[in-house]
Amino acid sequence: MVEGADIEAALAVVARQVYEPAPEVAVVGEVEDWQGNAELLASLEEAIAETSSDVEYLWLLHADARPRPDALAALVAETERNEAALAGSKLLRAGTQDELESVGGATDVFGEPYSGLDEGEIDLQQYDVVREVAFVGSASMLVRRDLAQGLGGLDPLLPPVAAGLDFSQRARLAGGRVITVPSSEVYHQGRCGERGTGWREQAGRLRAMLIAYRPLTLLWVVPYDLLVSLLDSVLSLLMLRWKPLVRHTYSWLWNLIHLPSTLRQRMKLSKVRSEGDEELFRFHARGSLRLRSIGEELSGRFLGLFDEDQALSRESRRIWRAPGIWGALAAIAVVGFGLRSVFFSGMPSSGFNFPWEPPGIALSRWLGGWNDTGLGSSAPVHPSVGLLGLLSAVWLAAEGAARVVATFGIGILGIIGMGRLGGRLGLHGPGRYLAGLVLIGGPGTALLAGRGSWLSLAAAAAIPWLARSAFAQMDSGPRRWWAIGSTLFLAVIVGSLSPLLVLVPAILWIVGWVTGSRRGDWRLALISILGGVTAAAFLAADPGWLVDEARRLGLDIHFAWPVIVLVACAPLLLGEGARRDAALVGGVLSLGALVASRPGWLGPGAEEALLVSASLGAALVVSAALEPATKRLVDLAALAAGTAAVLLSIVSITNGSLGLPGGDLNEELAFAETLAEEGGPGRILIASTDPSLLPGEPSSGPGFFFRLIDGSGMTADEIWLPPDRSGDNSLMSALTDIATGMELRPGAVLADYSVEWVVLAGEPFRLDQVLAAQLDLEPVPLASGARVFQNSQAAPLATAPSEVWAREGTGFTGEPTEERVRLAIAFDSSWSPDSQMIDWATTVDGRSGSAEYVPGGPGQLVAIGTLVLFGLGLAAMVIGRSRS
C-alpha cells in the first residue's frame, strides 16, 4: 500500500494483465474497511511467507503504479529467458509524456543510485535492452518466490528506493541475477516518494551497505563514506545548502540507533549468501556520485558566469565524470593544505631551501660566472641556478612570490605528472593522481624535503613527465618531433634540477625490457640522457658531488617504507596488464633505489637521485595498487598498502610547507646585514655538530660541521660547496687550531677570511668550550637558540689599506685607489684587473675602482650548450604541434 494511492484502480490494472494464468493478488498494508476480493495482509514479510510453494514468482507492485497490460508477462518472460532472480520494470512518470523515471541503475560503492537519465528525459526506447543492473526500483519488481522467501522480502524499515537497492543487493549476493526489463512498462505516480532523496533514503542506503558488505569491505567503505558525507556537507554549505548536513547527520544517527536490527539482517543474509562483494562491485560506478554531482554544480555555477550557452558547463560535466578527477582534486587539496603556512608567511629558508638570487646575477653565475659559495670558486654553480634565475625573471624578479607559486606548482605538476604517467601505463583510476602525493611525500622525497631540499621536490615533480618518455612511442610523422622535443625540453629541466635523474627513463626502459613490461621507444629514453649535458661542467669540476661518500646526506629511510612498497607491489605481480606492469617497474625502481641508497657509498647528488627515484617507483606502485580492480584478498592487501603509503605521505607533506622545514635562517641571521659597516656585511661562520642545522651542504670540520655563508643572506646558488681550494684548506687549518683551544684570539685568525660572525647552533660542543675562554670574539645575544659571537676585527670582503670597497653584483666597486685591493675570496686569475695571489686570497689593482670576474671556461660552454638543447627541444615541440 502507498499512502494516498487509489488501491481500487491499482487492482483494476492488475486485473487487466494479459498474463496467463491470472495472478493471485494480495494487498499488503493497512486499508480501512477493506471490501475488495483480494486478500489483505499486514506485512510483505507475512505475504511472502504465506505464499504457497506452487507459486513461482512474486510481483511486488506499488499501489501508485499503473502497469501496462503486458507488463507482467514481459517481466516473467524476460526473467525466465535470462535466468534472473529479480527483474524490474521500466518506470515512467505517470501524467507525463513518457518521461523516464527508472530503467534500473547503477550505484556507487555507497549505494548512491545512478540512473544515467537526464532530468525530464523522454522514453524513446533508447534504453530498451534487457541488462543486468545494480538495482531495480521497488515500484514494480518480479522476484522468484523461493528467493523472496529466503531473503524475507523487502526490509520494512527502508523507504522504497533503498528497499529496492537492499533487496537487489541481497538477491545478487544470494546468487540471483538482477535485471531490468524495459518491455515491462509501468507508469508510476510517485506518491511513494521514490525519488531517492530525503534523509530516510540516505539512511536506508547506508543500512543496505552495512547489511551487504563483508567486514573487510566495510573497514574501508565506512570511513570513506563518512569522509564523503563530510565533504558533501561542507561543499553544500558553501553553496548555502544546509539540508545535506542535516540529512547526513540524521542518516548516521538513524543507523546508529538501528544497528542491532542491521546486525540481525546481516545474520539473516549470511544464511543465503553465496557471492562475495565483488559481485556487487561489478555494477558500481567509480568514485562518489555525490561528490561528482557537487563538483559539476560548483564548476557549472562558476563557468556559468562566463558561459552563456553552457558549452563549457557541459564540458565540465564531462570532466567531472572522468575517473581520475576526484583523485587529482583531492591530492591538490592536500598539497594546498600542506602549503598553508607558505601561503600566509612565505617560503621558509633553511636546510637546502634558500631564496633565489636576482635573475641577472643568477644567470651570470650560471653562464660561467663567479661561484660565491664559501670563500668563492671558479667552479660552476649547480645547474639549477640558471633555471631559478629564469623563473625569477619570469616573475619579474618578485623572488618571494615566485618561490611560493613555484612550490605550489611543484605540488600540482607532481600530481598531474603522476596521473599522466599512470595513464600512459594504462591506469585509469583516481589512484594514479593520489599517487602524486607519494611522489612528493614518499620514502625518498619526504626525507629530502625534511632536510629542506626544495630542488629535490622540484625534480620529483618533473620526473614523471620525463619518465613518460620511457613508455612513449616515437610515431612517424610530425608527432615524432613533438615526442623528441618534449623529451629534450623536460630532460634539460630535470637535468638542471637533479642531474642524475635524466637516467631514470633509460632505467625504466631497461627494467621494462628485462621484465617484459610495457615500454616505449628506446630512442626517447636515450634522448632524455642528453639532459645531463646541463650539469656536465658542474659534475666535471666536482665529481665528489656524485661519488664522495663523506659528503653524503646520510638520510635513513624508515623501515616501514620498503615494507609498504613490497606489500603493495608483490600481490599485483600475480595479476596481468597495466597494474602488473606499473607495479613491477615501480617496485623494482623504488626498492632498487632504496637498496642502493642504504650503504651510503655515494655522494649527495647520487643519493638525491636515488631517493627521488625511490619515491617515483613507490608512486608507480601505489598508482597500480589504488587502481580499481577485483576485490580479492591480494588486491585488497595492495590497496591497503597503497592507502597506507598515501596516508604516510600526507603526514609528511602537511606540515604547512610541503614537508620542507620551517624557519627562516636568513631572518635569524639578519643582524649581520643590519649591523654591517662600510663595505657591507662580512661572512658568517655557522657551526654545529648536527649538519641538519646548517644551511646547504655542510663542511666537515674538526669535531663539528660548519658553513661559511654570506652575511647578506644565504641564496640558492650557495647550497652546494665547490671543491676545496687553498683558502678552504687554510680555513680548515685555522679552525683546527681554534678547536684545540690553543688560540687565544680566534677573532684575529678568522679576520682574514672576513668572518665577522661566528654562530654556534644546536647542542653545545667543542667550539662552545673553547670560545668561552678567548679574548676577541664577543658573545652577543642576537639569535635565539644559537650562540653568536661578533668579530670586530674582521676584514671587509674587499679592502685596501685606505679604502673599503663594497659588493656590486658578482664583483666589487669602490673609490679608485693606487693601492692594491685585497679580496677575501679564493684566488683566481680570472679576477680583473691584474689579479695576484696573497696567501690564498686575491688582490687586484685598485685604480679602476672595480673588481670583476671574467666569466669563461667550460661552465660557460656548457651553459650555452644547455641553452641550445633547450631551444632545440622547444623548436621541435613547436614543429611537432603545428604540423600535427
Binding site: D556, V563, V595, S700, G701, P702, F705, M742, A773
Partner: protein, 426 residues
C-alpha cells in the same frame, strides 16, 4: 617467470628494509684539547699589599701581561724570558689596581707563572692557572678565626661568565641566594666575601661551577697582617702533596663536591717511611676530612690521597709564620717549574720534593737566576727531601722519575706556600 619477479621484488624489499643504513656522515675528528700558553692570575694592589708576577719558562722569548678590571684593559706589560729562564712583572706596572686580574701570554706552553702578594709583613703566593675548568673546588677555607675569606672569580675572557657556588661548612650545605648565578662580566674580577655571607665557619669548601663562559677561582684569607692565596682546582681521584718542615698546624683537607658518599685513603710519606693507609674512611656527600700532620712531626712529609671519586686535597699551614694554603697536585711529573719560589731576605725558604715513585731518582734542582748553578741529588723511593731556597724568583726541578715539588717561604709574621707546576706527567 611471474614468480621469479615476485622473488626479485621480495628480495629487494627485504634488502631495502634490512641492509644496514650508513647513517649520517660524521664530522672530522676533533683535535685534542690543549692549553694555550697563557695563565690567569689575581692581581692585588690593596693598601700596603702589592703583587708581583713571576714567570719561568723552558724557552727564551717575549711575553706580555694584560691587567684588566671591570670590563676594561687597565694596561699591558711586556716581559722577556732571559737565558736564566725567568722574568717578573710588577702588577702596578700594568696598571693593576685593587683586586684585578692579569692575563699572561707566554712565549711557549712550557712556561708557568705565579704571583707573590706581599705587604709590609704579609706574604702570599700561588701559581697562576693555565686553563679554566667547568668545576673547581677551593678547600681549606674558614671564616671563624680569620678576618676575611674571599673568593675571587677572575674572568679574563671576552664572554660573560656565570657561576654558582656550592658552599659547604661543618654545618652542612650553606644556602644563600648570593651563591647562585654570580655574573662576572668579561675582563673582570668579582670578589665574594664569604666572611659576610657565612661568618663563623671553621671549615669551608667552595665549589665553583661555571654555568656559562669561563672563569678561574681563587681563595684569599686575611688576618691581622697575614694572608694566604690559593686557587680552585678541578677535583681528581689522586693527589700528592708535600708538606714543609716546621712547627705548627699542617692541615690536610680532603673536600668532596660530590652529592654521594665516597671512600678515601691517605698514605703518608713520613720520617718513618711510607705509611700506606694511614687514614681511611668514607666521606659524606659534599663532606670534608681534615688531618693535621703537624701533630705527627715537625719534619717535612708528604701525603698521597686516593679516593673512589674526584676530590680536592688542600694543605693549610698555620704557624707563627702565618698562613699558607695550597692545593695538592693531581699528577707527579719529571719536570717541575716553581715560579716565584725563593727565599725572602731574612726568611727561610724550603723546597720540598717527594719522590712519588718506587725507584730512586736523580734530581737536578736549578735556581733561575743568572749564574746560579744546578744542584743534584738522589732521592730514594718514596723519600721526601727538603732543600733550602736561595733568594731567587723561581726554580726548575728535573728528575729521572716521578716527582712532586712544593715551595715554602717563611718570614717572621707570615709565610707563602705554593705547589709547583708540573710540565710532564711522570
Amino acid at each position: 617467470m611471474k614468480l621469479g619477479w615476485i622473488a626479485v621484488v621480495i628480495a629487494l624489499g627485504l634488502a631495502a628494509a634490512f641492509v644496514p643504513a650508513s647513517g649520517s656522515p660524521t664530522a672530522g675528528e676533533a683535535p685534542g684539547l690543549e692549553s694555550p700558553p697563557v695563565a690567569v692570575c689575581p692581581l692585588i694592589e690593596v693598601g700596603d699589599r702589592s703583587t708581583r708576577v713571576h714567570v719561568v719558562s723552558l724557552v727564551e722569548g717575549d711575553g706580555r701581561m694584560i691587567a684588566f678590571s671591570a670590563g676594561s684593559i687597565l694596561g699591558e706589560s711586556e716581559f722577556s724570558i732571559a737565558t736564566d729562564g725567568s722574568a717578573s712583572v710588577a702588577a702596578r706596572d700594568s696598571g693593576a689596581i685593587a683586586s684585578s686580574g692579569g692575563l699572561l701570554e707566554f712565549p711557549d706552553v712550557s712556561s708557568a707563572a705565579a704571583v707573590r702578594v706581599e705587604g709590609e709583613t704579609s706574604r702570599a703566593a700561588e701559581s697562576c692557572v693555565g686553563a679554566p675548568t667547568e668545576r673547581a673546588l677551593l678547600g681549606g677555607g674558614a671564616t671563624s678565626d680569620v678576618s676575611g675569606f674571599e673568593v675571587l672569580l677572575v674572568n679574563p675572557y671576552s664572554a660573560e661568565a656565570v657561576a654558582d657556588l656550592t658552599v659547604v661548612s661543618e654545618s652542612g650545605l650553606e644556602s644563600d641566594s648570593r651563591f647562585e648565578g654570580i655574573i662576572v662580566p668579561p675582563s673582570s674580577t668579582r670578589t665574594i666575601d664569604m666572611g659576610v655571607i657565612v661568618p663563623g665557619r671553621d671549615q669551608l669548601s667552595v665549589t665553583v661551577e661555571t654555568r656559562r663562559g669561563a672563569l678561574i677561582g681563587y681563595g684569599l684569607i686575611r688576618s691581622e697582617g697575614q694572608q694566604a692565596l690559593w686557587r680552585a682546582v678541578a677535583p681528581a681521584q689522586d693527589w700528592w702533596l708535600p708538606v714543609p718542615a716546621g712547627e705548627g698546624s699542617k692541615l690536610i683537607t680532603i673536600s668532596s663536591s660530590l652529592a654521594a658518599d665516597l671512600e678515601y685513603q691517605v698514605d703518608v710519606y713520613g720520617p718513618e717511611g711510607f705509611q700506606e693507609g694511614f687514614a681511611t674512611g668514607i666521606l659524606a656527600p659534599r663532606g670534608q676530612f681534615q688531618l693535621d700532620l703537624g701533630e705527627l712531626s715537625g719534619e717535612a712529609m708528604a701525603v698521597r690521597v686516593s679516593a673512589s671519586a674526584p676530590v680536592v686535597t688542600t694543605l693549610f699551614t698555620r704557624s707563627n709564620g702565618g698562613y699558607g694554603v695550597t692545593p695538592g697536585s693531581p699528577v707527579d711529573a719529571l719536570t717541575w717549574l716553581l715560579p716565584a719560589a725563593g727565599a725572602t731576605a731574612g726568611g727561610a725558604g724550603q723546597l720540598v720534593l717527594l719522590n712519588s715513585g718506587v725507584d730512586a731518582v736523580d734530581v737536578e734542582v736549578r735556581a733561575l737566576s743568572q749564574g746560579a748553578s744546578a744542584e743534584t741529588l738522589q732521592l730514594e723511593a718514596e723519600q721526601v727531601a727538603v732543600l733550602p731556597m736561595a733568594e731567587v724568583t723561581g726554580y726548575r726541578v728535573d728528575a729521572s722519575g716521578p716527582l712532586v715539588a712544593l715551595w715554602f717561604d717563611e718570614v717572621p709574621g707570615d709565610s707563602a706556600l705554593a705547589i709547583g707546576t708540573p710540565l710532564d706527567d711522570g
